[in-house]
């Protein structure tokens, strides 16, 4: 037990002293995951809104596929992106493998089904009379759709929170396509995995604490935002 306590104390010292390595890793983690969330939200939310509002043949099949992909294993995404970006792969010429861009790509793909799926849930959960009310008050099609989105905004924010949690906490894809290169593609989760493997718990602990704090901080901020849009 002794080494656990020592590890924890050293970890806190690393955080308090604003250790350069720790904060480099944390900042990269945030950069990668936040970019991935923004990208998947830009694509996934409009798609989810469209699917949620429209009726079309094959809609149920589409929703089933999206729901299945919500549980996509991170290593499968890692494998997929790796094969696409490896120098023998179709996108190999871009030279993106083992760069933050590759990690962003992988995480975007990973959370996209989550964003689309939860957006559909949010939109279809809105009382259908909201749209009719908007139309009867003179809204055009786009304005009426926006009214529905506004009514679903809590669920949409929850989708962002869930997607961010999945992105920042995943390790498989980041390890596979990022390569865990120190100072370049090493993020919180891959660093923890590496340090634990080496038996050097203090850095792992420090990063674990930071990871939890970052998650708590961002969720609090988003919930505050949610309360603000009421």
């Amino acid at each position: 037990m002794e080494y656990l306590w020592q590890g924890l104390i050293k970890a806190l010292k690393l955080i308090v002293s604003l250790d350069r390595e720790v904060f480099g890793i944390v900042l990269l983690s945030l950069r990668v995951s936040v970019t991935a969330i923004v990208l998947s939200a830009l694509v996934g939310m409009p798609l989810g809104v469209l699917v949620g509002l429209r009726r079309f043949p094959g809609k149920r099949l589409f929703v089933t596929i999206v729901n299945t992909l919500m549980a996509l294993p991170t290593v499968v995404v890692g494998l997929l992106v790796y094969t696409m970006l490896s120098h023998r792969g179709p996108l190999g010429v871009l030279g993106l493998l083992f760069t933050p861009a590759a990690m962003i790509t992988a995480q975007s793909i990973l959370v996209l089904p989550l964003v689309v799926g939860l957006t559909i849930v949010g939109i279809t959960g809105v009382d259908p009379t909201v749209r009719k009310t908007a139309v009867s008050l003179g809204a055009n099609e786009l304005q009426a759709a926006l009214a529905v989105v506004m009514e679903a905004r809590y669920v949409l924010l929850a989708a962002i929170i869930a997607a961010f949690g999945r992105a920042i906490a995943e390790v498989g894809a980041a390890m596979m396509v990022g390569g865990n290169i120190k100072g370049s593609t090493r993020v919180i989760t891959t660093a923890i995995a590496l340090e634990t493997g080496k038996g050097e718990f203090e850095l792992a602990f420090a990063l674990g604490i930071v990871l939890l704090s970052v998650a708590a901080l961002i969720n609090t901020a988003l919930y505050k935002l949610q309360a603000g849009v009421r």
């Binding site: 009379t129 009310t133 908007a134 008050l137 003179g138 055009n140 506004m150 009514e151 009421r230």
Partner: protein
């Protein structure tokens, strides 16, 4: 005779292969207070959805000022911006009272100052001045209904349609809403179409009454539009309720069914009989009892 504000011809609507609405010919004149009454399942709400262009008929046409906008997106939007419907269970948007009432004005891209002005006026009309910043989700049912009404009148529609506006409300709220309906109809000249199953409300409001049963119009009457003076006008006892179920017919056209000097009540004002106040022959009349 001028073009009716709303006209439905050979209107049919089916649900699961069953005909639920079959209207041969229905005309609602400009400035009219029109009440659509009938038992549950008579097709009242279905008819209202078609008249407000929120639903498409399976057969037949609905004309607004002589134009059938169904089929043209731009014509439809333009007509929809001239009428508005308050549904039976109005949806209140999850935001403040102000933003709810301002909604129809915002989608029309009105100036901010003008929006504030109109919202303030509408809220004061429904007796909810000072409610602007309240969370609309924390309103009582009566307040929510009034916010929905304020939201509808804020856009100053030519036709205001209300689906069971007073169902499940207490007497005080019913009175507020009925007074408001009279005011909007008489002072602003807005055509008002109300769906109700309450015969006492029909008596209290009066006007062009359309009786609907099993999807068809079984009777049309023009009842006097009374201005209640005493509480008994508003809340007739059960004896009057019994009498009400046996409505007398007052339909007719001036000059043919009624003598030209009949006292006419239009928008609540009893006009003195005389040539200067005589409406044109053929105009619908609301003779006093």
């Amino acid at each position: 005779m001028s073009t009716p504000k709303l006209r439905a011809r050979e209107l049919q609507k089916f649900y699961n292969g069953r005909k639920i609405l079959d209207i041969k010919d229905l005309a609602i004149e400009k400035g009219e207070l029109c009440l659509i009454v009938g038992p549950n399942g008579a097709g009242k709400t279905t008819l209202l959805m078609l008249l407000s262009f929120l639903d498409l008929p399976d057969r037949g046409e609905v004309y607004y000022d002589g134009i059938n906008p169904n089929g043209s997106k731009s014509a439809l939007l333009s007509v929809r911006r001239r009428l508005t419907l308050v549904m039976q269970r109005p949806v209140i948007f999850k935001t403040t009272v102000f933003k709810n009432v301002a909604y129809g004005l915002r989608v029309r891209h009105l100036r901010r100052g003008l929006i504030r002005e109109k919202v303030t006026r509408s809220l004061s009309l429904v007796g909810l001045s000072g409610y602007e910043d309240r969370n609309a989700l924390n309103l009582s049912q009566g307040e929510a209904q009034r916010v929905a009404l304020a939201r509808a009148i804020a856009v100053e529609p030519e036709v205001l349609m209300l689906d069971e506006p007073t169902a499940n409300l207490d007497p005080a709220n019913i009175r507020t809403i009925e007074d408001l309906v009279r005011l909007i109809n008489r002072e602003l000249g807005t055509t008002v179409v109300i769906v109700t199953h309450d015969m006492l409300q029909v008596r209290r409001l009066g006007g062009h009454v359309i009786f609907l049963s099993k999807g068809t119009i079984i009777r049309e009457e023009w009842l006097p539009q009374i201005t209640p003076q005493t509480p008994s006008d508003l809340w007739p006892d059960e004896a009057i309720e019994g009498e009400m179920l046996n409505l007398t017919t007052f339909r007719g056209k001036l000059g043919t069914d009624y003598p030209p000097d009949v006292v006419e009540r239009r928008r609540g004002t009893a006009l003195k009989p005389g040539p200067e106040n005589r409406p044109a022959n053929g105009a619908p009349v609301f003779p006093t009892l």
